[in-house]
Symmetry: C3
């Protein structure tokens, strides 16, 4: 490890010099864009080393997947669109083990497909349950737990998450976050 | 690191081929079941490499401990039963440093033993405070902050967490999550 | 990796023997105090390897920065004072990408400087947004999402976070957490 450790230190220095970033050491080993390609994600997508991908996970183009994330496609398949922000700490599921634990292993895990549309901003540390569909152009507020589906252009927040507004676009493409229409 | 890195890449390929998983690179180095044995956990328990264990932590059999978790037994001892799901991102404490910070280090940390029973499902990113006891067969909802104790078969959620229901078992062992009895 | 892995195992054994801790393997490679020095933090500060630091981050003396944290100074600069507890899983931002995602990359990221005073306790898994100032001697409860500023000695909790109390000091320096004055 002595020589490995020396190389890791050099990578740390180079990253600091080039990008003014000091990353967890495992993030120095793999390139985020290479990892995205490795899992078959679209052009321009990047995925940090500390993202855990399980099972069948499809990710579109130009999507940013942060560190400490969990993308679980082991239940029924997970798909994520283009230009999404999957912020740090986000966990998206296609299964749960509630009944497995309660039954002492007699019940298996329960599962369902989960889908995130294009252009979605999923804020830090959100949890999205199995079976949920989130439409295009949605904003999910920080720390939310989403256990039901929402249509395109919904602003969502809370535990469990509810609609707290809508995304509108002006004639010139200007974005308005409209909080007048709540659930 | 060049040869180490080459070996890490091979492990990554093998994991993808065998299990359709792409794990954070550190998870490729240690086996989850080996780690559980290393910390004295019971038969059938697995613990991801990115779980941090501090101090006196006892874990039963067939329990699943996810990534990015923190199990702190440094205060008064932490015990976790059999067939629990300690989901990804869960943090369980036996100390806090509130007064340490506020006093500029004059106060020490405060501590207390924490206990999780058997057959508990602790959902992703829950935080359980020092001194808390959670009984057998409890379900703690995603994103909860638990700072008081709850008896067997309670469904718990919120920040701070409250009772939102009860777990019942039918004559045939069928599990019912009953939300009629709340705090 | 075989020899590297052997060395990592030895470090794991030594850490367990010396400190009764079993750490994620990447935490065995770098010393927490060395990392703090490496990023220019003050004397007595420690920062776990799995803390990700981006851009311009200033950290004072005797501050504890936990694992799985994200300190983002890439937007407008982030400063954190002395004797803070930046608990495990905390994420502090100086930018967001809401409009970047919604616009399909036409809008850039939005940014603003963020500041945490001295003697603050930031509980596990809090998220602090860009542009926020938290005064000295504040307590931010677990799982909070802080998207506005608070003055010295405020107790803060919730998503979004509100004032739920005040920190008082007795004549003898005794700390009182007073929950009578809420927002």
């Amino acid at each position: 490890m002595s020589s490995s450790f020396h190389e890791l230190n050099q990578k740390r220095d180079q990253m600091k010099l080039d990008w003014n970033r000091v990353l967890p050491s495992n993030e120095l080993l793999f390139d985020r864009w290479e990892k995205a390609k490795y899992v078959g994600a679209g052009e321009g997508t990047s995925i940090y080393d500390s993202c855990m991908l399980l099972g069948d996970v499809k990710i579109g183009k130009n999507t940013w997947v942060g560190p400490y994330t969990l993308l679980d496609g082991s239940g029924g398949g997970l798909s994520i669109g283009d230009f999404c922000s999957i912020s740090s700490g986000v966990q998206i599921y296609t299964h749960d083990t509630v009944k497995w634990s309660l039954s002492g292993g007699k019940h298996g895990k329960v599962s369902g497909a989960t889908k995130i549309g294009d252009n979605c901003y999923i804020a830090p540390m959100c949890i999205i349950s199995m079976g949920v569909t989130i439409g295009n152009g949605c904003v999910v507020g920080a720390n939310s737990f989403v256990n039901k589906s929402f249509p395109d252009y919904t602003i969502i927040a809370g535990t469990p998450a509810k609609k707290i507004g809508e995304v509108h676009f002006g004639a010139d493409g200007e974005i308005e976050l409209d909080y007048s229409s709540k659930e």
